[in-house]
Symmetry: C2
Subunit: 340 residues, 2 copies
């Protein structure tokens, strides 16, 4: 059952050296022989022993993780998980290098991608959906470097995978929760996004409005406002929203700056009756979920994302299949009762 390269060599009727040349893509092998070896591999169901392989290849894999600069709480948490994953992966012979780039600037991000050293084995990037970025991703991918998009996808690029939640679904889920928590009452619903330049927030908005308008005619969605994930800006927007529309019954903040919503709700004395759906479980959102100010939190598990990124990059590098169920990032719904 347990096949080795020697078994393959015997089966193919060639020497070990030739098998090695084939499986490691070295040159100097006749096309016919390559076929024979591959046939033998398939025939025997040979799979290289990952342990022997990683042991023999002295070199570590060199992966780059590109995250946005700035003090966004979610990105901080993601970075922390990547650092933790980096420590663990060190002994697994993979080296994660974390870089911070201004993600909101498409040209700068593209430049950073182009500046990456030649020998890189893979890249994961929180990407802006911008032509220059798409181009840079494609260049990398074409030169044989595995590229993953993190958090926000660039679907029309040749990235190998996207590591993050389905943001349309997240928006729809937020709408469903609000619709059901509000019940049959009539009222208005406010939505706040970080920036509509980022694909993830656009998608959330789309899903949110779709479900709300289609399934909850008693609720009217107010125009989305951008708050750049900043507490102060979120708070200001929320205040004016509550003032201008006292019949607002629910708020969905698809971006950061949840503390701003809390502050606005408290000062307007609406903390307990307003339905508030937030994103990302942090120490602060967790606290307010317990208190009841936040009614539900949609979360993407940053630890899962970091580990998944490392796994997918190495699987890509080694040409192994990935376990899709394991790498799917769920949209966690947290109520005060099911938090981890």
């Amino acid at each position: 059952m347990k096949m080795t390269l020697e078994d393959v060599a015997r089966e193919a009727g060639v020497s070990l050296a030739t098998v090695d040349r084939v499986v490691n893509g070295r040159m100097g092998v006749h096309a016919r022989t390559i076929q024979r070896v591959n046939a033998a591999i398939k025939q025997l169901g040979f799979l290289p022993d990952p342990h022997a392989s990683r042991l023999a290849r002295g070199r570590d894999y060199d992966f780059r993780i590109i995250l946005p600069t700035g003090e966004n709480e979610f990105m901080q948490a993601l970075a922390a998980e990547f650092r933790a994953t980096r420590e663990r992966q060190l002994q697994e012979r993979v080296r994660l290098t974390i870089q911070h780039v201004d993600t909101f600037d498409g040209e700068a991000l593209a430049a950073a991608l182009e500046k990456l050293p030649k020998g890189i084995d893979g890249v994961a990037v929180v990407a802006l959906d911008h032509p220059a970025v798409t181009e840079a991703i494609n260049t990398l991918a074409d030169s044989g470097v595995g590229v993953l998009t993190l958090v926000s996808d660039v679907p029309n690029s040749r990235r190998a995978h996207y590591v993050g939640i389905d943001n349309f679904a997240a928006g729809r889920t937020a709408a469903s929760i609000i619709g059901r928590f509000v019940g049959p009452r009539k009222g208005k619903v406010g939505m706040i996004a970080g920036s509509l330049a980022l694909r993830d927030h656009i998608e959330r908005q789309f899903g949110f409005e779709q479900v709300l308008s289609r399934e909850y005619p008693n609720l009217e969605v107010l125009p989305v406002r951008e708050a750049r994930d900043e507490n102060a800006r979120v708070e200001a927007i929320c205040r004016s929203l509550i003032e201008d529309h006292p019949d607002t019954v629910a708020i969905y903040n698809a971006g950061g700056g949840q503390a701003g919503v809390i502050a606005a709700l408290e000062s307007a004395n609406r903390a307990s009756d307003m339905i508030f759906v937030a994103h990302e479980l942090t120490s602060s959102t967790r606290r307010h979920l317990v208190r009841g100010t936040i009614d539900a939190i949609l979360n993407q598990d940053v630890g899962h994302m970091a580990r998944s990124t490392a796994r997918i990059l190495t699987a890509l590098k080694e040409g192994r299949p990935i376990i899709s169920g394991q790498e799917h990032i769920r949209i966690d719904i947290f109520l005060r009762d099911n938090m981890p």
Copy 2:
């Protein structure tokens, strides 16, 4: 940064053979020397290379998975995931052997545990909380075999880990969802369990009643009924429940046999207005969630559980730490919008 056994030997001022004796727990080493070696290991932060280690130890790990007999849909799905994991783990040098035992019979389960061969490297078991089972688990654990409990815990045993969701929290979550979906209306709530001999269902009941009685005084919980996870029995119970209490507004089925609830609701023409919270995402519950008959599904990811079990067992065997965030089984809440 990368330490080997040779570094440790040099640091401790002993030979490689002695270091090997210490780290592999062979006998014939002076206590003082053991201390020196361990000090060197700590000093250098030495961690054995998992790949070299697994390669050198020719033998595979031999783990046993003990699942219940019967055609419970959830257990079937879990078994399927274990089979998939087994295939993948084969090349990782771990062998998973799946056994089916009548878990509802404590003595039989204990006997099965005691009959396990000597050389076993670890066991995972869906356990009944029964004195004989506890005893058998402790015997195994004391003989150095890592034991995990699956799905239903035996907390007062010396099992190394529990792989499954927090069932109190699951019950509380079901209650919260029902409470919020029902809204301010008054009414009765029915709960159905598989068997109250299994700890998981007792815990769900406890959490469910706790939250409902404390936070939703408008809802009255009817006495829990046991249905042994059988569709027919579940249906009968549901029918009589709806007949006897026409003012029932919500149902929580904590066990299997969700199809029985569906049938009863449909025949009573209550499929659309009754709030129904079910457990476990299957092709059938998924369909009814989309249709709206089921309002929310609480799920534990069987794929995650199978993979986590394999990881924890090998980590235990190799004396490595586990990544708690990775092994925590979440209580997934699925609405029709966020299904995977």
